[in-house]
Symmetry: C2
Subunit: 698 residues, 2 copies
């Protein structure tokens, strides 16, 4: 795959179909850029009406070329664009960038069908297409700038360690503009448009292989092909390359807008979160967020933990940094007592030395305080990262020394440092030494926390198995609902603890089963196709004694008969003891495949959900972390003097369900509700299950 | 009060005690500023060792002046500062600004005691003090800049419609710097320090009376005096002046840092939220947030609703604006069909016209599209506010026309407009026409949503009764726990529906009571001082028949006797029917006074709280809004085919509890748990209550 996209990123020759003399036209802009930004391969403008365009000789049509260009830019609209794509396929172009709009992003079925058809014809002949509705690709490492974006006229490019791959044209260059404005070089800024053939994720995998990158930014309106993104993430993680992704269309309103922008299909947003986390990708909330921590990534720091020390000449900065750190999950561990004693010897008596360290306004009359405390703090082992805030300073302050000494401090400790300096005169001496500067405590702390958490996430993702490519949609009829006995048997075979039970065909069998189990039992009518047993009077709990068992058995038989369902028997089951009913479910997402849902059970699981999603394969530790994030976490740990819940068998059961969903593609969905949890491991039992399975009738 | 602080904001004469020739010293800076920024009153430097300081004749000591200055700046440290304050009180200074540090913000008990003592002496003689640990006050309307901040050397002041009142020195000028950098004029930037006498809230009330202000910003590390803030808010609301407050110390770490910064006492953060909301004050999260919507406030727009229309040449901006709007609670209502038809006649076929309106990249080749669609959209009544995003443009675009036409559009509609323009060349023509420009969709939408929601909040606060000043702490012994019968009687008298019950002294009485109630009853042992009845076996539910009632009665008597508690009798109560157990509680906060807590009840109310706090007085509508924000809101509305809960009597009960707490200061706390709620109004009943009351034994 990567080899075929090599021609998109680093082509040896480029044809521009619809080449224009006017560099402000879509067909003129790429020609200008190819000249301006030093592309060294061959460039062939295609224009049947002019001999020369922007000082280059044209050919009248693609077929007039002696050999096929590796990359073709299709800058003509509508029908002409479709014809040009076919011509590219004909002569053996490797990759075509289709800039024309008006295909899959419209509501017009004919335009959407035309898009599908042209992709099919191109693929059949080995041509890969970027677009349609693409602003183009730009590689400032090679000068292959096949884009009509206005941005590169306004903000001068500089090759650098950042790559941006985006579905949207604007969002390929807005982050570029923000980063360039901060002096950061950007190599790749690619916009894939409708992703009708090559997707943003597939291109991201090719870009992630560029060894010159230290940060990869993605803008996605849809993830129809998670396996490509998983591959990009795996390539990136193998090299320690962080990926930050802005996936828009989080909300119904956003999804509707995305549909008419790039024809994007809606993803379930919590699955996007889960998928990105599992593959070590950080999710940005918006454009500002996408580039907020860029300087931190580019420094090459390896954060060792979450303990932050804040240092400022302003108490308010100390307070706000402490608030922001707590809220972002960073610890403000106190400095060691010896360190504090040494700081007290330097600072005025009313300064704070525990952490945060408040130099106080005394810095105004003695700038040396700043330089004196840093070496002391540098020697303290109880810090993983630092925030240095100088919210106000001026001519009375040795601000250049502050920058110099902080840079030396960062060098000495090797630990991440963020600077808060809203005044430009204060920011400059820090920034000029390569330190990340922010205008507020909140921004600085959140960027630092993201940087640290992202490293943890990448480490946790490790060498994750690649995500499977989607299988073609099954042609089988609507999934069949198994009866409860079949469902429980399926769970038991998968290694999930199931309540002791027996399927009984006769009342005598039921009585015998109840006697074998002992004590009161549950008696439940069993029939495939019945999902809501209670509503048909098929659930009898605490049934005690032969007569009661017989009565319950007959009630089940009558209930099913009355509702017109076949009677497969009655399940006689032990009454489960336990403390809390959890749920454990699974289904298949059309994009992300098997999804396991863990969390609190009970009647209101849809109305007041307290659940988390996991994408298999996952470990018991991941299930535990997911539960730790839920509202019911305190119950699991034990509250009000109650013992903790014995949750381990549930963790194992969740992993087993994930495995089952991967190994048995015929299972459409599965819901264990309740999964009873007690304070002893043996109390973890599936009490009921609803399983839908595809395939032939039993 | 305001009159005494008039001398702080607009003094006719100022003495500087500890006046220095060096303008980079604390005693030199204010003298420089008073000259530089055009203060027209009298200025008297006090310095016993020099005849002249910064070109002004000095006096050797304050008492050498022929008459007292209205304002004195105390720029000497420690003991000398204390002596100077006493001297100010002696000669009749109205307000003193104490810049010295090392008092209440330290951990030193002697320093804290010294602060309390000097405040007491000053107050006794009618002197008001700002500080200690104050950076000073600055009023650019009058030139009374009694501050040693470095900021005013670096960023030129300009009088304008913004006031900033802050405990912290840095946070009085950081917002100033950010606003001035955006061209906004600032009149007041005051830093009150330790608030030992005049508090930031008291000074805010004085500043809020300035008719020149359109926006008031506060930075608070503690709110020990909510009544002053309530007064400031009332003054502001009466004039339509919005207040945005940054209250730091949200977290334990932040509170600890605030303690050593300004000696701030910790407030319970959810009460801060509730208090600010009730008084129409917007709460900012951090410094950036504090000034984020400033331009919107200064425009004088009056938003009529929450329907936002987004317009952009970028589909991605449309998608991200839609996401951000949904997440911020703004609606993306579709434009009217007629409007859409007119837009379709202007825009290319692949453009989106519903809302968001996506002009598409066609704008690059036809800038007139922008100007053509605005008048069409202006006529559509289904919009309350607009977002216009031009994330990328350049030389091919008529960006100046965009700015001009959008300004005309804003003028024509009178509705709020926010602009997203990360490129400076695009931002400039909008900004120069006075439109609020943001660099990202998230920032723009959040500022707009804040502006709209803040107006709603101010309108809802209306003419709220001022918050009562705190009463002096009671000297009574620890509050007494009433017994259940007393507690239920107290609730019933307050108009709260209580379960039908009778306190029975003998088993015969209990039997008679049970017979009178009919059906199974609850029998509960009753004794003052017993909060957890279940644990002593004092709760018997579903007791049916004479024998069972007798047995339960005797068990209660025995249980209390066994635990050494007096036996006040047994309560025989009806068994309540209902659907959900809510809780309804109240207590007294040392700062905010009576607090009512509403929400979900049950065993895990502490471990998994789903509650909201309200500060009385409040209305039933406010209780309903509070419940609407809770997790259990769907249950109240009715889920899974269940009928809605009959919540009205609960709303009334919550209001009654609030009234009770205001009217009966002796009630220390009150907990109704459970308050049963059913689907019929009569099912709303208090089943049990725990009330603590101060005062003498019964």
């Amino acid at each position: 795959m990567t080899s075929s996209l090599q021609a998109a990123l680093d082509p040896r020759s480029i044809a521009v179909i619809g080449a224009s003399e006017n560099p402000d036209k879509i067909g003129g802009r790429p020609l200008l850029y190819l000249s301006q930004f030093g592309f060294r391969g061959e460039v062939w403008p295609v224009n049947p009406r002019r001999d020369e365009v922007q000082g280059r000789r044209t050919v009248p049509r693609l077929s007039a070329l002696s050999r096929a260009p590796e990359l073709a830019i299709i800058a003509v609209p509508g029908e002409a664009a479709v014809a040009a794509l076919d011509e590219c396929a004909e002569i053996g172009v490797k990759v075509a960038i289709m800039m024309a709009s008006g295909f899959g992003e419209t509501a017009d079925p004919a335009a959407r069908a035309a898009e599908r058809a042209m992709v099919a014809r191109a693929r059949a002949r080995g041509l890969r297409m970027i677009g349609p509705n693409s602003q183009g690709l730009a590689n400032f490492g090679t000068g292959a700038v096949a884009s009509f974006s206005s941005m590169f006229l306004e903000v001068e490019p500089r090759d650098g360690p950042v790559g941006i791959v985006s579905q949207s044209g604007a969002m390929s260059v807005v982050p570029y503009g923000l980063l360039r404005g901060r002096g950061i070089g950007v190599r790749h800024t690619h916009a894939t448009g409708n992703d009708a053939d090559v997707t943003v994720c597939e291109l991201a995998a090719a870009v992630a292989a560029d060894p010159g990158l230290k940060l990869l930014l993605l803008y996605l309106e849809s993830i129809p092909d998670p396996h490509h993104l998983a591959e990009a993430a795996a390539i990136a993680r193998a090299r320690g390359l962080p990926i930050v992704a802005l996936k828009s269309g989080r909300t119904a309103a956003g999804q509707a807008a995305a549909q008419s922008h790039t024809g994007a299909l809606a993803n379930e947003d919590r699955l996007v979160d889960a998928f990105l986390e599992q593959h070590g990708i950080w999710r940005a909330r918006d454009t500002t967020d996408l580039v907020a921590a860029a300087e931190l990534y580019l420094k090459g720091w390896r954060p060792a933990g979450r303990r932050m020390v804040a240092i400022s000449n302003s108490g308010a900065t100390c307070v706000m940094a402490a608030d922001a750190a707590s809220q972002a999950g960073l610890d403000l561990a106190p400095l060691e007592e010896g360190t504090q004693a040494r700081l007290r010897a330097i600072l005025p008596s009313f300064a704070a030395t525990r952490n945060p360290v408040d130099i106080t306004a005394a810095l105004m009359t003695n700038s040396a305080l700043f330089s004196q405390i840093l070496p002391v703090i540098a020697e303290d082992p109880s810090a993983d990262a630092f925030l240095v805030g100088v919210p106000v300073a001026g001519r009375a302050y040795a601000v250049d020394d502050f920058g110099r000494d902080t840079a030396a401090f960062a060098q000495a400790t090797g630990k991440p440092v963020v600077i808060v300096a809203p005044q430009e005169l204060v920011a400059a001496p820090f920034r000029s030494r390569g330190l990340p500067v922010f205008s507020g405590e909140g921004e600085a702390v959140r960027a630092l926390a993201q940087f640290i958490a992202h490293h943890e996430r990448m480490a946790a993702a490790g060498e994750r198995t690649p995500h499977p490519a989607p299988s073609s949609p099954s042609a089988s009829p609507a999934p069949r609902l198994l009866d409860e006995a079949e469902s429980l048997a399926l769970l038991a075979r998968a290694g999930i603890p199931v309540v002791r039970h027996r399927l009984c065909r006769t009342a005598d069998e039921a009585v015998a089963a109840a006697a074998g189990i002992g004590g009161p039992v549950a008696v439940k009518g069993c029939s495939a196709g019945v999902a809501h047993k209670s509503e048909l009077g098929l659930v009898h709990l605490g049934v005690d004694g032969e007569a009661a068992v017989r009565a319950a058995f007959e009630a089940c038989r009558a209930g099913l008969a009355g509702a017109g369902h076949p009677f497969a028997g009655a399940i006689v089951a032990a009454m489960a003891r336990g403390r809390r009913e959890l749920m454990l479910g699974a289904h298949r997402d059309p994009f992300f495949g098997p999804v396991v849902v863990v969390g609190d059970g009970g009647k209101y699981v849809e109305a007041m959900p307290d659940v988390a999603v996991l994408l298999p394969p996952f470990s018991e530790a991941q299930v535990r972390r997911a539960l730790d994030g839920l509202r019911l976490a305190p119950l699991i740990a034990g509250v009000r003097g109650e013992p903790p819940l014995a949750i381990e068998p549930y963790l194992a059961a969740a992993v087993a369900v994930g495995r089952l969903m991967v190994e048995r593609p015929a299972i459409a969905s599965l819901d264990v509700n309740p999964m009873m949890i007690g304070t002893a491991p043996g109390e973890c039992l599936a009490l009921d299950a609803v399983v839908f399975e595809e395939g032939s009738a039993p």
